[in-house]
Symmetry: C2
Subunit: 349 residues, 2 copies
Amino acid sequence: MAKPFTITCPVPVNPADFVTLAHGGGGRLMHQLLEQFVLPAFRSEELEARHDGAVLKVGQTRLAFTTDSYVVAPLFFPGGDIGTLAVNGTINDLAMCGARPLVLSTAFIIEEGLPFETLKGVLDSIAKTSREAGVKVVTGDTKVVDRGKGDGLFVNTAGIGVIEHQQFIAPTSVRAGDAVLLSGDVGRHGVAIMAVREGLEFESTIQTDCATLAASVQAMLDANIEIHCLRDLTRGGLATGLIEIAESSRLHINIAEAEIVVEENVRGACEILGLDPLYLANEGRFVAMVPEKQAERALDIMRSCSVSSHARRIGTVTEAPASLVTVESCIGTRRILDMHSGEQLPRIC
Amino acid sequence: MAKPFTITCPVPVNPADFVTLAHGGGGRLMHQLLEQFVLPAFRSEELEARHDGAVLKVGQTRLAFTTDSYVVAPLFFPGGDIGTLAVNGTINDLAMCGARPLVLSTAFIIEEGLPFETLKGVLDSIAKTSREAGVKVVTGDTKVVDRGKGDGLFVNTAGIGVIEHQQFIAPTSVRAGDAVLLSGDVGRHGVAIMAVREGLEFESTIQTDCATLAASVQAMLDANIEIHCLRDLTRGGLATGLIEIAESSRLHINIAEAEIVVEENVRGACEILGLDPLYLANEGRFVAMVPEKQAERALDIMRSCSVSSHARRIGTVTEAPASLVTVESCIGTRRILDMHSGEQLPRIC
């Protein structure tokens, strides 16, 4: 193998040859990176499904399996920290597969010089958040990198959940006629991080919405709601989540702007900062696609769980125009939602 | 939560308050970090088992689950790269639980500015190594961090394997009288990385021993060998692996120096560099503890697999002195192997 034995950070002669921050943003560039490099390398049907996690059968047991690395800056922010994010993020990805989350792994990449106090704060968060969600941390790893080769702390969590029903919840299961339900207001996580990072102060502190969604999903499954697709709205926000589902299912999703709740202070921050709340990251919100006839019952169940108590129906899936998401404004005009190339804010999770 | 919202890299007033490179070395300091911070935070019996992975029962299925983050520098080295390391490392941790590895997740933390060519090289390695081992990459994640906040590329892999037998393979299953088998020569990975990093040249290039150990373990299981414990000899090398097992099992392990093979060029490099091959990282070597009466058959089976074709019996487990590892030199003297505080070389995997 005649491979180079050193890694260099070359001067970007052709910028197209190098990874940029936008490639991590969950938008169009990240999809290009996946389509061009990752998917062709691995050719696995589970990856091709472009779901939040993989669904596997081991013996007679159906499992969901997922992973995420967290590189959020700063490590602590109003309402949470990298630990709460890492636990809830992985639990939520399992829940989006319709699985009951069981166990987590945690792997830490620590930059030399991190105060033990900081590490302890994050470990305590991970322990508390996972305990509250009834999920056990069962295995892990710790690496340390030289000062200047990391950024305090990066956390990876992987998780396993068990699927205890016969449904196949995935973008490809979405059908024309499905109702699109949204579990709550959007944009809070993105603005919370942005505000801390840029030292912005608002009348009241905007807190992340970071929370586990597993109980809300489990309640729907327990009530035998037929769920076609679930998606938590992280990097890229509501818009990107819906566009991904429209593209995978080759269907059209139409949503009503008036039904999408953005809290007053989040909307204010977005106006000042020039951000679109539909594209801002959330860490405790999801959409559910369910058959029209089950929409009302599903909404009632979602509203009975505190994390989704403000759930609303925001739209409908139709046949055409295929693979597109449109938004109807309050005055009746309609626009197409397009995927951003990157993320409005890098390193949001 | 009155937590600070910025992370600072303070001047180390008291060095004991901060994580050092040695805390990632697999030695005594890393064990202190685990004992003092990680284990008390999570209090999970699976973590307390201090095994290479966790063993879980989901429904009627017994699973092994493990994770590792890889931060090796440089990314490419003779005989492998961070991709081969990440795949084999996680497969091997599953194998050490006596599991048949099934699926992997991969999560990338990319530093802005990494050439796509480098990423592609690593992705191809991951794909090739996992394909050859019959293991599928089924889920993943990609994050990008700002230039100067990472080091090219960090890779996390987590893995799931299935346990298809009734044995409980773990340090606590080791018994006095067990034979200690070692699958091959030691020290190659550590010297291979060191040589590249320091620009050292030897008569012949020393290659990493990085390889999957699953086939060798599976062959023993298929032959109904009673295996008490397995351990792959990564960070901290043979010495640390044995010390961990002696401490967990509260037994004494005595090994014969004459039975431990160190290749001529590795031994030469160690002498020049002042390294002890017993503490050098390996990425394709393991020890097996089996009952005395099965030792010969187990060795025959190990030798029938190319990755462990030079397997040898290196010692025996006895009752006392409890929790200690001793080495008998060629002239009959005996010394205690003590855990190093860190790793002789940081960022070896």
